[in-house]
């Protein structure tokens, strides 16, 4: 599904260039449940943002189902994000003025289709993540874990090929974290969506089928989790 070749990202901190990604190459297969792990500052979130088309690499290529996507214009990248990629942020990235249901179906509305269709699907997805009873609540009325599950439901609204989750449990308690991760595992298993998540918690390896270990902007190891 993803073929990443010689990907580098350099940030300029003042006059000092900092290599956040250093010539990274790897592939992700369709249907995988992959985890990118590493210490803080290892480049795992930067890598996820390049794959999620939220940022542009300094060099290298990313192929999504054979199509090179790094050099696409912003409009085309927005269209790809809308139709093929779902993103779950570390912070609770919901729109404050929209209810849980409206947050979920907004990308569906952007994609088009009947009003009743995306609303119905939004409700189904909220039921799927166990929040059917909270669909008319605003983000401020939801717990952190509930907000992350709403974000997961939103990421699924347009039937994406892949969901990116950037440390989705970083701000959650243990119970909520478990619930969010189990939701992602269930989606990967039942909906067959590819999931690529970032975590710095070694315990999260158990949810992944493959684990990419990063350090100083490089992939230092790639293992298949025995627990997956």
């Amino acid at each position: 599904m993803f073929d990443v070749r010689n990907l580098s990202k350099v940030y300029n901190m003042g006059n000092v260039p900092v290599k956040a990604l250093d010539n990274v190459s790897f592939t992700i297969d369709t249907g995988d449940m992959a985890c990118i792990m590493g210490k803080s500052g290892s480049g795992k979130s930067t890598l996820l943002r390049q794959l999620g088309l939220l940022d542009q690499p300094t060099s290298g290529e990313i192929y999504l189902d054979g199509q090179e996507v790094t050099k696409l214009a912003e409009t085309a990248r927005a269209a790809l994000r809308l139709q093929h990629l779902g993103y779950v942020f570390q912070e609770y990235a919901l729109l404050a003025e929209l209810t849980a249901l409206e947050n979920v179906y907004l990308p569906g509305m952007m994609l088009g289709g009947k009003d009743t269709d995306y609303k119905k699907k939004g409700k189904e997805l909220l039921n799927l993540v166990g929040l059917g009873h909270r669909m008319h609540h605003y983000p401020r009325e939801l717990s952190g874990g509930e907000q992350q599950r709403v974000a997961i439901a939103r990421a699924l609204i347009n039937n994406p090929q892949v969901i990116f989750a950037d440390e989705p449990c970083a701000n959650l308690d243990t119970i909520s974290s478990k619930r969010v991760m189990e939701t992602l595992v269930n989606l990967n298993r039942d909906v067959k969506v590819t999931v690529l998540f970032v975590s710095h918690d070694p315990d999260d390896k158990k949810y992944a089928r493959s684990v990419i270990i990063m350090s100083d902007g490089k992939i230092v190891d790639r293992v298949t989790s025995p627990n997956a």
């Binding site: 943002r49 999620g52 939220l54 940022d55 912003e74 409009t75 927005a78 269209a79 994000r81 809308l82 139709q83 990629l85 993103y87 942020f89 990235a93 919901l94 729109l95 404050a96 003025e97 929209l98 409206e102 907004l106 990308p107 509305m109 952007m110 994609l111 088009g112 939103r154 990421a155 347009n158």
Partner: protein, 402 residues
Amino acid sequence: MLNSLRVATFLAFKAITRGNLGVTLMTIFMLMLVAMNLLFVPGLINGAIDSSNRILIKTYSADIIVEPKGENPFITNAESLMKAIESIDGVAAVASRNTINAKITFEGKQTTCTVVGIEPKRDEEVFEISQNIIEGAYLSPRDRNEILLGVQLAGADIKNLELYSSSLQHVHAGNKVIVSYANGPEKQYTVKGIFRVRFIQTDLQAFITDLEFQSVMPASRNRATSIRIKLEQGTDPQTVIKRIDNLRDDLEFKTWEETAGLMKSMTDSFFLINQILSAVNFLIAGITVFIVTYVDVVNRRRQIGIQRAIGINPQSIAISYLIRALFYALTGLALAIIAFKYVVIPLEMRHPFTFPFGAAYLTTKFTVTARMSVILLVVALIAAYIPVYRTMRIRILEAIWG
């Protein structure tokens, strides 16, 4: 594009209905005040112009002035000419006037003026001077020793008159004044009445009957310095002028607009003031919308970043801000028009603004309101677009995480 518009409308609606109500109301209120100001200034100016034109026609010029051509000071055979003019379609009334310069003296104080000889009945049909008597009475056809004075001549102890210091100051109805005519005669008259039409040129005149005028200037019999014509509403002055011109070739014509030189400089100044104030008001409207939108996009930068990250295209987000700006401007505009029409205008009708030429009543003209509305909406759109455009150019990650 349809989807972009649909999402934009959705986002705008949610932001308006679920956003900060105080900010929304304040923005609408500000734009309402700006729109009211934009309606008020041209409304007042148009009202003042209408009022000044009306007073000019009704007290000074009439619709058409017929004068002798060339060096000849009089229109000859004035009676038969007036009868002929009266028979022309569209002519409502005709009056002849004779004028002579004179000095008027009262208790040692002297002033100069134009004394006008009129046929009171006919003059009343063309002009409204008889309706503006503030002391005494209007002239009767047989009056010989009576004179009607404009308030700017008499003074009438009204100390706040524009020309009070150069007037006779203390003359009232019933007083006797001495009139020394430019052609020699000097005569004492009783002031029969004092009029005040609030148009200085008229209020500086004195009137006597044509009978008396003929005694002062015998050569004026069946002659007139000018003939004033009142037209029926909707009559084209040029058509009537053509018809009169066919009657005789020793006449020349002026419409009331050609006598409005003083008024023209005033109305030109009014228009200029209107343009300046309108430009300032549009600037205020633009700055209001700009600040509200700017503060909003700065506060929602992260939200905008999230919207873009989940695939909402930048056009939708930008259009949602434009829709909000349109909503603010349209609501402000609608409230301003309603308040202006149903509160301000009726209130001003009861307490009109007074100018030297009389009361000015606020008016609304569809074309002025429509043009102002369109400009205001365009200004609001441009003002909203600038900060949104700048925010849309920021990278998504920067928008979300700063």
